[in-house]
């Protein structure tokens, strides 16, 4: 059985030589692109785009390759920083590999384990086409034998209300097509995770797809989301109806924000009022970017495990953090 995604490589074990050859080609391509850059902004543009797509294995490969370049090579400080903040930073028995199914849909999988033994995370990116973090930092927290990750990128920057170009022209059509392609119920578990403007779409997708869990991190409130829908001349009624629906089983919904970020607390509280959900206000966090903040505290893997409500490294249950009487989490 596979998860239904073309090309059908779900259980093909990649040969090391093939992987090494692909990594080397990627490195040579990187060098050509960087060689054409004439300004710091051009360099930053390439590096930011790479951060949105690279796997942990690619970061390690680039780190080793760029270490052979002159000390003033522009890639060296960039890759050193990327490498330094990898939360786990150790090679794994099997590694995530990336396949760009479409421009707006990227799949990360080790492809060596049956989906029914794994959890699928469907990521709804925010404004910068990432889940608040460079992709390798997030992937580095997950055991590829236990997780597949799909990332939907909102290149239109319209909170997925105009769909995903290759999947469908509106949110509902895109999610229906995603269900056909991904078959989330073939997995042991499936979870939607959205950040910033991807937060509300993640909760809606969790309800629509009947997933076990939906998570919004620093998401916008639903009122703002529907206002954006209406301002584009679109009908917001289906979105309101979906949020008001209570299909069985109803997913566990989690709304997360920094406790000291006033606007995000307002948005999270408003969303929490509208739908059965858990509200997590992260103690002492005054940032919108909750996941990088957790990384800086050295807590990203533990925090992800708590949000996903399962271990990132085994099938064991996960320990939860203390919750204060006012609902803030430590």
């Amino acid at each position: 059985m596979n998860a239904g995604l073309p090309p059908n490589r779900a259980h093909v074990v990649t040969q090391p030589s093939s992987l090494s050859s692909r990594l080397d080609r990627a490195y040579r391509l990187y060098r050509r692109r960087i060689g054409r850059c004439r300004t710091e902004n051009q360099l930053n543009r390439i590096h930011l785009a790479l951060e949105n797509f690279l796997t942990p294995a690619e970061v390690r490969y680039l780190r080793a390759a760029l270490a052979r370049e002159p000390p003033d090579s522009p890639g060296r400080p960039w890759i050193a920083r990327l490498d330094r903040f990898m939360p786990v930073n150790k090679p794994r028995p099997v590694e995530f590999e990336r396949s760009g199914l479409f421009k707006s849909l990227t799949r990360y999988t080790a492809g060596t384990v049956f989906p029914e033994q794994k959890t699928l995370i469907i990521g709804f990116s925010g404004h910068f086409h990432r889940l608040m973090l460079p992709m390798p930092w997030l992937l580095d927290c997950l055991d590829p034998r236990l997780y597949d990750v799909l990332v939907l990128r909102d290149f239109s920057r319209r909170s997925f209300t105009v769909g995903v170009p290759e999947l469908g022209a509106d949110f509902f059509a895109a999610i229906a097509r995603l269900r056909e392609l991904v078959r989330p119920h073939a997995y042991r578990n499936a979870i939607a995770l959205g950040t910033s403007s991807g937060g509300t779409p993640a909760l809606l997708a969790a309800i629509l797809l009947g997933l076990k869990r939906g998570i919004s991190v620093s998401g916008q409130d639903f009122q703002r989301f529907t206002t954006r829908v209406k301002n584009r001349g679109l009908d917001d009624t289906p979105y309101a109806a979906l949020l008001a629906s209570r299909p069985e089983p109803f997913p566990d919904l989690l709304v997360v924000c920094g406790a000291e970020h006033t606007n995000d607390v307002k948005a999270a509280s408003a969303l929490h009022e509208l739908v059965p959900s858990h509200l997590w206000k992260i103690h002492n966090c005054e940032q919108h970017a909750v996941l990088p903040w957790q990384l800086a505290q050295g807590r990203l893997p533990a925090f992800l495990a708590e949000m996903l409500d399962q271990s990132l490294e085994s099938s064991d249950p996960v320990a939860t953090t203390a919750v204060a009487p006012d609902g803030q989490r430590y």
Binding site: T39, F128, S197
Partner: protein, 87 residues
């Protein structure tokens, strides 16, 4: 580059860097030249500063780099800096 074009370029760069930072009222006032936005108000992290500078360079051809933004501090100062570089 006309002043109006430059204002649009700065506005679009702000929108690219800090989603939701500029509402409709601010946008109208800014484009009319009546609003100077202090960058400190916008909670720009390092990613936002990079995205802002990338957007400015793409639309105007002028290279600003992220550390300059703290020195410039406001949209009026950024516009002056770009105009000087454009000659």
């Amino acid at each position: 580059m006309e002043n109006a074009q430059l204002r649009i370029a700065v506005l679009e760069a702000l929108k690219a860097a800090v989603p939701g930072a500029v509402n409709d009222q601010m946008r109208d006032s800014f484009l009319a030249g009546g609003l100077n936005i202090e960058l400190a108000r916008l909670e720009m992290d390092s990613l936002a500063r990079m995205e802002f500078c990338i957007a400015i360079e793409l639309s105007t051809g002028v290279t600003l780099v992220p550390p300059q933004l703290a020195e410039l501090g406001s949209t009026d100062a950024i516009e002056r800096c770009i105009r000087e570089q454009l000659g």
